[in-house]
Amino acid sequence: MIDVTLLQSEVTVGETLSGRMTWTASSQKQPKEIKISMGWRTEGRGEVDRQTVEEIRLGEDRFSANGAVYSDFNFPIPRSGPVSYDGSLIRIIWEVRIVVDMPGFFSRDDKETYGFRVLPQPILSDRSRSDGY
């Protein structure tokens, strides 16, 4: 079973998203690898665009005998964004995605996603920016 706790539900570009992932085994099998990634994807009329911005891979050395795994993560959000958006044709969705890669050809990987919002950065009016003319 996968559980993720995000310290923020909203984060500004340039800031860091922090959280903790916990995985507990529901069977005797140990996973080969757990991948924690953060990125964005689009939804709507257009073909899907997506980008993985940050990723952590947890190998077998991280798995304890009782089958529980936890990992803290701190993912910086790029200053260039994009920001979360909900429009007529396009939605931009940020999410943390957990994939637990189980061994065996017929085994199904565990997957969960957790959404959060990315906001633009507030800036104080900068009067020192010079006019071109």
Binding site: V48, D49, T52, V83, I92, I123, D131, G132
Partner: protein, 237 residues
């Protein structure tokens, strides 16, 4: 940390030409107004092939009607007439574009700052020069507007289609071009709305901001220049 890019996503900057930094400010030029060997060369080649095929067929059809001893087959004339008509319309459109490039230089927009931010106000100068020392004989008009819209591309069967949805359209100050002028120019200011959204550019999904300027010079040109802006994910407070 591993960085992974899916589906050939472009880096999130302007795919069209970024502005040139000049002593006047940040200069944007509407390349669609400019001469392009590719655009005009392809257009002329296509039209010559089109008319080269449809015109002889039309001439043959007309001769058959002229030489017919019985009732004339007017139906057989319709299709070559339609295709030749389309070709001639295309030729007129091509010549109009060529004439415009000959008469007037591409539109230019000079911005006080770049990139832009939400909630900030910018000073802008638009100008468009007549070529060859020409001057306007009648008064004309320049009208500008700020447009924000979503652009998407998708596949429907074997077809690739695009769609747009405008979320912001603001009329900006307009100006007059006096008779006897050698160029059109307009100074104005505009503000990117506080609520944005900021610009976004991926392969099949984009959020675009543009300044669109329509120049009307009677008996000379009526044309709209479009200048793509880039709005960062920053909001002025």
């Amino acid at each position: 940390m591993k960085f992974e890019v899916s589906k050939n996503i472009k880096v999130q900057t302007l795919s069209s030409s970024p502005p040139q930094k000049t002593p006047e400010g940040f200069l944007l030029i509407d390349q669609d107004d400019a001469w392009s060997w590719g655009k005009f060369g392809f257009g002329l080649f296509f039209l010559l092939i089109w008319l080269g095929v449809s015109l002889p067929i039309l001439i043959v059809a007309l001769r058959e009607i002229a030489n017919a001893t019985g009732p004339a087959d007017w139906v057989g004339l319709l299709i070559p007439l339609l295709f030749t008509g389309l070709g001639l319309v295309g030729l007129l459109w091509f010549l109009r574009g060529l004439l415009m490039v000959y008469r007037i230089a591409p539109g230019e927009l000079i911005l006080s700052q770049w990139p832009l931010r939400m909630g900030e106000t910018y000073q802008v100068r638009y100008r468009r020069q007549l070529r060859g020392g020409k001057r306007t004989t009648q008064a004309g008009q320049v009208a500008a507007k700020l447009v924000g819209y979503e652009w998407v591309r998708y596949r429907q069967g074997t077809d690739t289609r695009t769609d747009t949805s405008t979320f912001c359209e603001q009329s900006l100050p307009s100006g007059e071009v006096f008779a006897g002028s050698s160029k059109a120019s307009l100074d104005f200011q505009f503000q990117i709305p506080l609520q944005g959204p900021p610009s976004f550019e991926a392969s099949d999904n984009q959020i675009r901001w543009e300044i669109q300027v329509t120049l009307t010079l009677p008996k000379l040109v009526k044309d709209t220049s479009k200048f793509r802006l880039w709005v960062d994910p920053e909001v002025i407070q």
